[in-house]
Structure formats: structure tokens, C-alpha cells
Amino acid sequence: MSDRKLTIEYNDRIVRQFLIATLIWGAVGMLVGVLIASQLNFFKLNFSLPWLTFGRLRPLHTNAVIFAFVGNMMFGGVYYSTQRLVKARLASDFLSNLHFWGWQAIIVAAAITLPLGLTRGKEYAELIWPINIAVAVIWVVFAVNFFWTLAKRNEPSLYVAIWFYIATIITVAMLYIVNHLSIPTSLTHSYPVFAGVQDALVQWWYGHNAVAFFLTTPILGIMYYFVPKAAERPVYSYRLSVIHFWSLVFIYIWAGPHHLLNTALPNWLQMLGMTFSLMLWAPSWGGMLNGLLTLRGAWHKLRTDPVLKFFAAAVTFYGMSTFEGPLLSIKSVNALGHYTDWIIGHVHAGALGWNGFMAAGMVYWLLPRLWNKPLHSTSLANLHFWIGTVGILLYVAAMWTSGITQGLMLNATTENGTVLAYPNFLDTLNTIRPMMLMRVVGGGLYLTGWILLAYNFIRTVSGAQAVDGTVEVFVEDHPEQKPLGLFGTFLNPPVVFTGLGLVFACSWLFGGAALQILGITGTALCVILAFVHYQAKNSGWGEWYDRLLVNIAPFTVLVFIAVVIGGLIQIIPTVIMNRASNVEDRIEIPYTPLELAGRDIYVREGCYNCHSQMIRTLVSDVLRYGDYSRLGESIYDHPYQWGSKRTGPDLAREGGKYPNSWHFNHMENPRSMSIGSNMPNYPWLYQNKTDVAALTSKINVLRKLGVPYPEWSADDIAAQVATQSKTIADDLKASQAYVAQDREIVALIAYLQKLGKSQPVTPTVASAKAAKP
């Protein structure tokens, strides 16, 4: 063995850049958050300007904090820790720089397009298709840079943090690409290929796992590096790392449907969503336990070290929100909490407490090391912590109170449960108005804390000399010791038992009678065999796993298999089965061209941020909004607009509820019709002309996607638009509401009046489909 001594200089410049970006985008994202929270209180803060309305800025807030703030923080943390954990400099400076600048360009593009109303209309996936492609490309750049670095590593074995990074990179790529599949109708507009229930399922498969694999797994990896570093303590349990990593990445993917409980989503998916969310509790807490018990040995240091304070609090908040998550996934709890501020409180406990505090702890720990200068002020960092905790307390307490109060009021009935106790939605909204103010105070305090960090950052960095870390390694000149190969990867007890067990379990879940019996016996047999195997051979899976850890490709393949299963099992049946011909009961009538134009305005203005279009199978929903929504009633909706929050009432059956003139007055000034409403004014809808020209390519794309539109020419479409808009404008005129028929408000009214209009499905089709899903 001829070992060479080598000095490696890490690329810490890129880490510094990402930290600075984190600082800036964190402040921007939180500032937008405070603004939109204020808009909920004071509608005038929408300024009656299109690009400043809540519906357009809320996507900006979510995208900014997820992809800009946490994204940059994650990239910085991943690059810093990975280089050190594998003792290698990042593979390519060019790719690193491309990654950084490409990501910043994407953020800027998002910050411009979202306020302009250019959106795909799906939460956390609002960016338009050219930006989607850019995101995918930059993500691949990140992946290549990362795996290339791993390939050049001087540390044969992979540390647990790296496992989490690998899971993040491959899963986010998969989620992002599938949920962004769309067909463009113009340079800035596209329709997603999925519609209705399929789109909802894919969306929350993505949306939920954006939380899982963008906001959780990379941050857990960062926790596994920075917490033991800062605490100067060993990690509490390696085997806990193994178990919670694999169970987390496998189970998380399945839990997406818990965002769609009690909706028109097929019940088997809802059941999977609920049960897998419950199963997720222990794996999530495994991560929390490992972080917490790692800190335990350094508990006395928490009093003085702000870094450890932030980490301890972050881990605690991670535990709280991963406890609350499964709780909210229980169908009956969800019936109360869903669509209310409780959910907002839940995500902010995670975002502010877990992500924000991990970011702060990491920044405070990194600053002195990257700029070779002590932190400007430890007491300011402590103050940041105190203000941050108070901010979270106010924010979360306000949202819990608000959500539970509104949920109880909306669900309350009187007269033996036959009549709603609060039939007027606004009564419930105005009850929680004070809480909306308190959340602004809480969020404002949290932002103040972040600004303290920014000040501390700038003071620390100014005049300091940036330093790059170095390490001396002994390169061993021999090939990889224990290549695993195909055989070693798959044909070994842990993988075989798990794989077979899963196959049998799935055949039990989904199979017919014979398959079910086979499945249940097979699953039981696998469990027993595995148990016997490991009892008999005392060594267990440790040795094989140690070998796996020095083989990146097999490891990555296994991770990919683990994360792909849940999605395949949930999405493929739904995409195949829920075609128009399979729909029971009722089916949507395709939109007329004018209604479609109105729908695109609805999407553009981000109405889905506050209004759902989904009447759940709950008594209170049905009493309030009408018959529960059927799966077929949104089957032509590209994108689906079921929504996830009801700041305003549900609109699934809005059509015909009010006269045209009501909507006309309401959109101009919602308070004129709904006393106490906090909805923005939309005066520009009365000026802008409906974009009829774009309808031709839109309808062509929708026809390609399976919406039964005849082959209309541009003139056909224009004629239809003209006829329908004239009818509406005339009706408005009869109620002394005067508007030209080519204005957007007319199209929007056409759309709103169409909501809930469906046709019955002929019984023959329905009976053919009477079998179980």
C-alpha cells in the first residue's frame, strides 16, 4: 500500500455565497409573510393593485421561504458538511457556481412572475413552465456536483447525513418532475397533464413530500452534522439513525393523501394517507430523539451557547410538529382542523421552529469558521433566540386558537343537528379576526429576530478574512475494498425480506380474494422468517449495511426504490382508473370558452389560496355548501382547484347561489355584499379585456389532454364568447350594473356561475363501475 499524503482545500466560497443568499431571501420571504398576514386583517393593504393582492403574494411567500430561504440554507449546509464528511473538495467549481447563480436567477424570476399573476395554480408548484425547466436543470447540476464529489471521496464510508442528502436529491427530482408535467399553451402558460382527482393526488404527493424531502430530510442531515459538531458529543445511536432513516424515507411518500381526507379522493387512498401518517410518528420522533439525546451530554452548555439553544429548540419544534402532523391526519381531527388556521399554525411551528431555528443555529456556528473571526455579538444572538421563541409562541398560539375556534363554529349545529349554528361564514371569520392580528405580531417579532441575525452577520463579516477549510488526507492507492455488486445489493437478507414482505403486503392490500390470502400468509411468513433469521444469526444486518455504506450506487438505488414504491402504488391506479368513462354518479360539463377564460382568471388571481372547491363528506360541509363533491365533478379541471384553506367559503357549488349582479358588486368591493369580509377588491377586472385570442391554443391543449371539446376554430370560440358574455352583460344591465361585455369580470362571473353544474352519468356506465375502486 502506497499511501499519499494530500492536502485538500474545501470550496467554502460557495458555502459563504449560499449563506448570504439565505440571509437575504429569509428576510424577503418573512417580510412578504408579514405583509400578507397583515392583508388578512387590513384589506386596504392589498392597495387594489393586482400585483400586491394576497392571492398573488401568498405563493410568493411560500415559494420564497421554501425554495429560496430553506433551499439556500440547505445547499450551504449540504456543501459545507459533505466536503468534510467525505474529505473531498466539491467536484466542480463551475457546477457549484452554476448551481448558485442558476438558483438565484430562478428565485428572481419567481419573484417577478408570481406577482404578475403568471402561475400554474398549484400550491408550491406555481412557477410557470420555463422556470420549472430551469429548476429541474439546476437540480440536476446540484445532483451531478454532489454525486461526483462522493465519487471522489477520501472517506470510504457514508455518514448518516449523506444518506439524508442522497434521499433528498433523488426524491425531490422525482417529485418535482412528475408534479410539473404540463403542456404549454403559450410561453408563460401551461395546463398540467393531470386533472381533478389525479391532479389533487399528484399535487399532494408532491406537496406533502416537499415538506418531507425539502424541509425535513436535508435538515435532518444538517442536524446530524452540525449538532454533534456544535455539542462536541457523539451521536446518540447509530442503529437509531439506520432505522429512522429507512422508515422515514419509505413511509413519508405514502402520507400525501392526508391532505385530502374526507374529500372526493377514493377512500382507499384516504386510508393509506391516514394510516401511513400515523406510522410516520415513530420514525420522525426517532430523528428527534437522536438529536435530543445527542445534545443531552452537552446540556449544561445550552445556557450559554446560542447555537445549541437554537438546535435544542429546533429539535423540540420538530418533535412538536411531527406529533401534531399524525394527530391532524386522523380523519375526525382533520374534519375539525382542515381548511382552518390550525394547519397554518402547524406548518409554521415547523417552518419557524424547525427550519428557521436550524438555519439560525447553523449560521451562527458557521460564521466564525468561514470568516475566521468570532461572532460579533453572542448576546445579540441570544436576543434573537428570545425574540424568536416569543414570536413563535404568539404565532402558533394565535393560529391554534383561531383554527380550533373557527373549526368548532363551522361544525356546530343546533336543533338536533339539523341546522348550522353559524350559517353565515363571515360570523366565523370575524370571530377570529383578532387572532389574525396576533399572528402579525408574532411573525413580526420573528422577522425582527432574523434582522438581528442579519446585523450580526454583517458586523461579523465586515473586515473579516474569508477562510477556506483544509484537511490532510492519506489517499489509499487501492481499489474499493468491498464492492457490493448487483447480487450483494439485492440478494441479501434485509433487502429480500423487506422486498418480499412488501410484495405480499401489497397483494393483500389490493388483490382479489385468493391473492389476499396469499398476501397475508406471505407477509406473516416474511416477518417470522426474518425474525428467526436474525435470532439465529446473531450478527444481524450490521455487516451487510457496513458494506452498503461504502457503495454509493447500490445505496442510492435502494433509496430510490424505497421512495418510489409509495408513489407508484398510489398514483398509477388513480391515473389509469379515474377516466371519464369510469366516473359514477355525476360528471362535470366541460367549460364553455368564456367560462374557461374566467377560470384562468380565477387561477391567475390565486383564488384557491382562500377558497376551496371541495365539499367534504361531512355533515357540516353538506349543510353549509350543498351536496358533497363527487370525483367526476372536477374531472376536466386542469389544474384541480380543490384548495387547502378556507379563509373564505367553499365555492364548489357557488353557481346559481347568487345573481350575477351580486358577483359584480362583490368583486368590485367584497365588503359591499359581505359585511366584514377581508377579501381584496378587484377593480382591474372591470378594466382588463378578456384574452379571447389565447383560448384557441388553450382549448386545443385541453382537447389533447382528454377534455371533450369539438374542433373549434378561433372564430367559433370568439362567437361563443360573444354570445355568452352578452347574455351576462345584459342581465347585469337589467340590475342596473353596467359593464362592457368584453371585460374580465364577465368571464369570471360566467365561471363562478358554472361552478357545481354537472350532469348525471347514465346508469349503465355507473352500474358497470359499481365494483369497488
Binding site: 436576543l383 370571530t431 358588486n665
Partner: protein, 490 residues
Amino acid sequence: MPAESSKAPVPRHGPSSRATALITPNRDSVTTIREDGSRRFLHPADVQGRFTTVRRASALALIAIYLALPWVKVGGYPAVFLDVAERRFHLFGWTLAAQDLWLLFFLITGLGFTLFLLTSLFGRVWCGWACPQTVFLEHLFRRVERWLEGDAHNRRALDAAPWNAIKIVRRGAKQLVFLVLSAGIAHLFLAYFVSIPNLWGMMCQSPGEHWGLFLFVAIATGILYFNFSWFREQLCIVICPYGRLQSALIDDNSLIIGYDSTRGEPRGKAGSAGAGACVDCNRCVQVCPTGIDIRQGLQIECIGCAACIDACDQVMTRLKRPTGLVRYDSTEGFLGRRTRWFRPRTAFYCVMLTVGGAVALWAFSGVRPASMSVTRMQGAPYFVAADHVRNQFLVRVVNKTTSPARYVITASDLPKETKVIGGEEPLEVGPMAEELRPLIVEVPRDHYTGTGRFQFEVNVQDQAHTFELKRQVQWVGPDPELLKEDASAK
């Protein structure tokens, strides 16, 4: 921080043979989780002393309060009666409606800030002294255990003993008592939401009559029983978020329970040369209900119960040495410096508490014995008649008092000669009931000018004019100019 004692490692095994059964905490593992992952039960030794006495007294007082709140009546209702079914919340004679439920916020944040302040000043006093988990566990369940199974030594012996008749009877009796106590606590908890008489009424009926509540109590009993008989301090170590946040909330000037290593180290038998005050008797470890050695510094498990203080003081007194080797003090205090009670942080919390209190007071004083809302009647936003333009509203008045009341509805700031129909007769609303009243506003076309957009006010007063509720309402109508053109065109 003085770390000179690193020379004196804690022995992995105790000095005497009996001590081998005792715990030997270290900093790397959790005492209550054994190496094979199983649960290690703690058998804290008996302890006497001033803190224990005061703590027991305060715990009994707290239990008395928990019991009294749903029993004692204030103003016709139990002192605390959260009537979820009727959506009325009775607090010490005050009744709040669902519309006031948001005031709960002040309870949560008030509790939060108080906890922050108390922790920054006194460490985990809440955990050790007032948390229901500690109060019930230490002063109810562990007392039962002590009574039925004897002291720590006997309990350990019983643990080790084979399952003979005596052990089965003793353990069975204990579990039975635990189960009964858990059921009692679960019922007490429910009483806060249904009131004692209703609870009693339901208990006399078959479970099938109130299936949901029965299930709730059954599950709550199960959870409480599991917690108090088995889970115990694991809740504080792993589950409770406050337990985990506490050290982050403590700073160098906060009171904590600590060991004065300057005085205590090096440990040694009394009288041996060069030995410090600590005789390494391990009493502090034996009495600890969470299984730590306080001499290893403040740890995640410490709930601040002060048992080790009393234990050490007792030993020190017997040895005729000054007490306080283990004591309440701040990090600064242990270093021989003065504890700063007033710090920017405590001041900040005080300010937040005061501001919060003021806002809460303002919010509570804003709670009126009634509430009202104005909505538009469904249908067209306005109606144009030959001589007037009409808007129609519904006024909903909620009477939150326990007696019927009459309310006067008026509208103001309207154009001249506007007719307001609906306010002629006062609206009578039964106790705790809600009532609707249409309010029709007709603006004569002659006086319908300008932009056609104006705000007016709807007022609801009780008949005695003791309070007034107001709502700003937006008038809606056609553009007056266009309406005129339209009219002249016809």
C-alpha cells in the same frame, strides 16, 4: 466553569453490595433506558426536608383546586364550566360565547410568557412544583406505591422477587388503585366540560347513551393509567416540549438546582485528608425521581423537584456541616458571584406580560353581554323600485346572558328621508339564544345622488342603553347617474 473534579469519576459500581442494585447515572446514556432498550424503573428513596414538606402541601392545595373548580358554583354555574355542547364557557361567574373563544389565545400566551419568565428566573419550578404530571405522580401515585409496596429498598426487593402470591396481591392491588385513580382524574377532566351534575347523570346511565363521551373517558383513563403506572418520567424526558426547551430558556442567572463542586470536590469519606464536603453517599442519586446524578451538572431529565437538596441537607446536618452543598442557585451564584435578577431578558418578558395583560384586559372588557352581526339577505344586492332603491340586511343578535333581553336596532349616517324598516320594535332574545331581524333600508331616488357608494352604521343597544354594538355597512346600489339616464330612457 470549575471542572477540576474530572479526576474523580463516578464509579460504575457502587461501593457496597447493596448499591449494585442502585442506579449509577452517567452523561452518555439515559438512566431509565437500559442497554438492551428496556425500561429501568426508578425507586426513589424517601426524603424529608423543608422543600419536600412545602412541595407536598402545595401539591395537595393544587389537587384541591383542581377538584374544586368544577364543584364550586359562582353565579349559578360551576367556577369553570367549558360547555362545549352549548358553546358557552363559564369562567368564575363570567359567561363567554363561541364568538369569544379567541380569548383563549390570552390564556395560552399568558401561560407561555409566565412560563418563560418563571423559567428565566427560577428554572423549572413549573415542572417540579405545579405541573399536573408531577403533582399527581409524586403526590398521589408514588404515595400509593410507597404505602402498598414499602420504601425504595422493599420495592426493589419486590421487583426482584419471583411472582409469588404476595407479589401478585401487592402488585395487583397497586395497579387496581392506579386504575381507579386514573379513572377519577379522567372523570374530573370531563367534569370541566359537562359539569358535575351532568357527569353524574351520565354515569348513572348506560354507556350506550353517551357512547362518544364514554369512549373518551375510557381512552383518557387508559392513557393516564399507562402514564402514571409505567411511562412516568419518560413523558418529561421525551414527550413534553417544555421539558426539552427548558435548558434553552435558562441562562447563567437563572436559579437551578446544582451541586457546589468547589465545596464538594474531591469527594471522600468524612475526615479523610484533602476531601471536600461531599462524602459521596449517593443519597442525592437515590432520591432523584428521574434517575440522574445532580453532581454531573444540570441535565435534560432534571425537573427541579429539590428532592436532592433535602437529601443532601439532611446528610450535611447529620455531619454537622453547613447545608447547601446541593442547592437552588444560579450558575453565577455557584461561581461565587451575585445573581442578577433583573436582566434585559426578564425585563423583556415582564414588558411582554404587561403588554399582553393590558391587551387581554382591553379585550375582555370589550366583551359585551351580547354580540351582533349584519349580513345581507341572500339574493340580489339591491332592488330598484319606482321611488326608492332598497338594500336588505339581516341583523343577528346573540344574547350571552342568562336572562332574556330586548335590543333596539337602529341605523345612522343615511341620506335624508331614508326609510329604515325593522327597528320599530325591540328584538327580544331569550337567555343564551340568538335571534334574527331583517333590516330594510330604502333610499328615496330623489336623494340618491353622488357616487351611490356610502357607508352607514347599524347599531344595536340593549333597552337600558348600557352598551352599544356597531357595524359599518356598505350601501350598494346602481350608479345614480346611470340610473337616471336609464330612467329617462324608458
